[in-house]
Symmetry: C2
Subunit: 611 residues, 2 copies
């Protein structure tokens, strides 16, 4: 072909283009022979166009067409022809036309593929994917699959929409260093040995936290960065050695403004990328309420079903298991003035739930440290039956009225002397029911809420001292400033998490800007001045030169996009992720390196894997 | 103050706001007492507003005002007052007003500063800066200085404009991994020891090159990323361990399209951020011409003064030094059909240039391996004088006509049997003259040009083999495909550099997408299949599954912004750079880490700095 550069994409042509001569570039998605004709589905990231090599095609074109195989990369020159009405494929954007090939050029051929690019579905509609390591080994082919193309394209659109919104508000995107000082607090750091300074190491940031706070000290006022972060964590769950967060920080601000900016940003992102309208403001739920009502600080709010306090039931019968939960026995319970006897009313399922179903739920509750899951059903006559019903026979009216329960409902209870244990266990049951019964509100595809008023300190039982729930730069709420030392357990922090569909997708706080207050926090958590200085000295020092009030937040990009794609692993929205062992099967990474490289870095290895 | 949150910034108020009650937040830039009044210049990143604490102010406000020192971070509540005509300061955006303080709240105080935030100027106007390590130690204060604020703000605007332009063209921003396999080609890699896989290492990318090419194999078609890159190079010049590039790659494209997209992007960036109009297209100069005319592959084109071939002069006189240069002696000269006798005509300076001036220029030429710098002047009568004039007496007409020289011009010559040596040396003289004589065209503040048609291979004299000038994935120009092995020295690559004001700011190429052609290149440069496989196997493998024609480019963001700021170090446009020893004095990085951390990583250090 004289000039094989495309004149349009494979997703572009419509009936209005009939008669035009075009050049298409792309991959052979599929070919088929029919009645002496060869049909080629040609694919690029914009769509698929059907190419026909017909009777009238030149012999050499027919010959090339006959040799084409899946995933050959080719150019086709031809004339756009409208399809007959009956041949129109409404599922393809280009389904109204086909291109009659006049010339075909093969850019490059393709070997036999390790797996099919086209979707393979089982009879029940489930998509069959190759195993993960094979997908990752041939990630460049896995990325050709339509769902992966869509995810990566959506991710790109999300980041642009974030930048567009924040830039319009006057935020500056500022790059912070990824070679920083190791501060062995929190998760494990990844280290980079220095060649120039033997024995010394750079650390890769777990987040730009300290640097974005320094930028506030510098007066930049509204900062953001879509920042790569690193955590050397053990392989469990859906973790990656490197991940990306939408890191934000503002000065001369307050909590409400940070939340409002975040809401506006997400609203813009969802509208621009998915055409989905989020509410202008998200509900705010206190940390206490989140546990009390949903048993989690990241509740799934796509369905309502709240847990209820059932302390009143301890007095209605002589059922020992409920006494402990109802009593305000532990320090924790006193603190929250809530009981450890929690109830869940599952509407209209009593006739459907077998003992086996309930045992499965009890197993869930026990995983979360509950001693058991008490239950009873309300039968068609309005009487309790099964489980613990014998203790409460005759109390139907009082209990049903207080818990707002009706005929055919299932009542579930967890009782524990620790309020939080009861909440978490029954909350896990709630979450499981949401999934099992598909309680999700279809009009509520993406449900966001803020969790606020977190406890500032947590008591470390093992080491017998207070520590901060979040990081040590979080501002305690002002009303507790006088009682930080005398009653740390009651202190609430100016902390906020954003939850979405049961996942935490952002965490943030207002920060301390007063060096004296910062010193008090270090003291309460038992940090010596030396330890604090070594780890955070440069930030505390910076605060001695006029630090503004400031605060921020950092939504996780990977998880946000994952949820937008309705996926359940962030690997599905990262172009080249690592497997659960933090390896890349594609490029064999990590790998051994030359001894000369290590010598340059003044290090030797004490062990080699498998040796 | 009840509520101290700002209602407007310190750069916002004009006479139209007179009478309004406002709250400002910012830093005390300067205070001064005058006639019983206190004037406070309050600064934030948007500007400076003058606050007045007058007679009528409450006593406690006066008291606070009296205690304010530089860089205290404060809130001021007050009423906007228009200044008298004579008091209007036209150099401040808020110079038409001042704010009469009613309340002042000190957010945080500031210790004595290590250096002044305000600009300190010498009598000659030169700005006096603290030494670099002090600036970097207190970088958060250095960043408060107006020039640094402007640089960081401009950098943010540049990156947004880049994204805006490329996104509009359908480019996707895709994040590539920063934990990759070490391929010990090119510069030294930074390594990250793996905890989970003892003895193995991740490497930080010198660029996303291989991954962006894989994205083309995946069909993403138009990729970009503002990407952090890492090179462990020796401390010289203006280098940083981590730097940022605007990484781009396109499929189904050709060189012209890559250049056009880049031109369009830069045009958009300059217009949006500086209001500066770049030409729609930049000049294209072949690599041969760049050396022949300017003695450099990154010529400064803000002034014209081209070098000329002066081979004809060797026949005009019996001047031995010119014979070697004029002869087409070496292989290099034959290849380019250009001589090693180069002339530079410096217009109208003969009467100003002393022997000492010329000796200084000769020193420059010798730094670049010239044996000497021959010269003569044309006097007021049109006669040659000084230097080598005795050899050419009487040849004035011929020489002046061929070189287009006139009375009072200075003629400079370098002669070398190697064409490139002569060009480079006289080119350095040209560059020096540009600076010394300030030859820059003031209407040409930013001058871009493309350097194209690079030699593909270079002969490594020491190791006695061919190597590639750029990387090994560059496409040789098609017309040389048949003679790659038989005449490597003549092969031109489909390579292009973008130069700006004498700096290379981008480098790119069309890439090989045919595995067989790639193998030929590996063979010519003497890469065994094993070595090639180990380093690049996964890319070459990917090319076996239908790789599209593709190419790209990667402008350096740091250098681009540096030149836009008229700075001469990239440190001036990076928020938290390292010093020349790759250290950050602010957070003492790199630093020693706990032995436990190293133990986790299965490494020990063989040496500790200074021990």
């Amino acid at each position: 072909m004289e000039n094989s550069k495309r004149t349009c994409t494979c997703g572009q042509l419509t009936a209005a283009d009939a008669g035009k001569t075009v050049i298409l570039n792309g991959w052979v998605h599929r070919t088929r022979e029919l009645g002496g004709l060869t049909f080629i589905l040609l694919r690029d990231r914009y769509g698929i166009t059907q190419v026909v090599v017909g009777d009238k095609a030149a012999d050499d074109v027919k010959k090339i067409a006959a040799q084409l195989k899946s995933e050959y990369c080719i150019a086709v020159k031809g004339v756009v022809a409208a399809r007959n009405e009956k041949d129109i494929n409404k599922e393809m954007s280009t389904g109204a036309i086909e291109v009659e090939a006049q010339e075909i050029e093969v850019f490059t051929t393709a070997q036999t593929l390790p797996f099919q690019i086209d979707e393979v579905r089982q009879k029940d509609g489930t998509v069959v994917l190759p195993n993960e390591d094979l997908r990752l080994k041939y990630r460049y082919l896995d990325l050709r699959r339509a769902p992966m193309q869509n995810h990566i394209i959506l991710r790109s659109k999300v980041t642009f929409a974030v930048r567009e919104y924040l830039t319009k508000l006057g935020f500056l995107e500022i790059e912070t260093p990824t070679f920083i000082k190791s501060t062995p607090e929190g998760a494990r750091d990844y280290l980079v040995p220095s060649r120039v300074h033997p024995g010394k190491f750079y650390s890769l940031p777990q987040s730009p936290q300290l640097y974005k706070q320094l930028l506030m000290v510098s007066g930049f006022d509204k900062y953001f960065q879509i920042a790569r972060c690193y955590r050397d964590e053990d392989a469990r769950g859906d973790r990656q050695p490197e991940f990306t967060q939408i890191d934000m920080e503002m000065s001369f601000t307050d909590r409400d403004e940070v939340l409002t900016v975040t809401e506006g940003m997400l609203g813009h992102v969802f509208k621009e990328t998915l055409g989905y309208e989020l509410p202008v403001h998200f509900d705010r739920i206190s940390w206490d309420d989140a546990f009390d009502l949903y048993g989690s600080d990241k509740p799934d709010l796509r369905f309502d079903m709240k847990m209820q306090d059932a302390a009143f039931m301890a007095d209605l019968a002589d059922f020992n298991a409920f006494k402990a939960g109802a009593a305000n026995a532990s320090k924790t319970i006193e603190r929250h003035k809530r009981s450890g006897l929690k109830a869940l009313v599952v509407k209209n399922v009593a006739d459907k739930f077998s003992r086996k179903n309930i045992e499965a739920l009890e197993a869930v509750a026990k995983t979360y440290k509950a001693k058991g899951l008490a239950w009873m059903k309300i039968d068609a006559a309005g009487k309790f039956e099964g489980g613990i019903s014998k203790f409460y026979a005759g109390k139907e009216d009082e209990i049903c009225s207080k818990l707002n329960a009706q005929k055919n409902d299932l009542l579930l209870f967890v009782s524990d002397e620790k309020w939080q244990v009861a909440c978490v266990a029954l909350g896990a049951v709630r979450k499981q029911l949401g999934k099992d019964l598909n309680l999700y509100n279809p009009a509520d595809e993406f449900h966001f809420a803020w969790i606020i008023d977190f406890p500032y300190f947590a008591w470390n039982e093992e080491e017998n001292h207070w520590e901060t729930e979040h990081h040590m730069f979080t501002l305690p709420q002002k009303k507790y400033w006088d009682t930080l030392e005398s009653d740390p357990g009651s202190v609430k922090g100016d902390l906020y998490d954003l939850v979405m569909n049961g996942y935490e997708i952002a965490s943030g706080s207002m920060r301390i800007n007063d060096p004296a207050l910062q010193e008090r926090i270090f003291e309460i958590v038992g940090y010596s001045r030396e330890r604090a200085d070594k780890a955070f000295g440069f930030l505390v020092n910076a605060f001695k030169f006029g630090a503004p009030p400031h605060g921020g937040i950092a939504p996780g990009l990977d998880r946000l996009v994952m949820l937008m794609c309705h996926e359940d692993s962030i690997k599905e929205v990262i172009a080249f992720p690592k497997n659960t062992l933090a390896q890349s099967p594609m490029d064999d990474c990590p790998s051994y390196v030359d001894d000369a490289q290590l010598k340059d870095l003044h290090i030797v290895c004490t062990e080699r894997e498998g040796e």
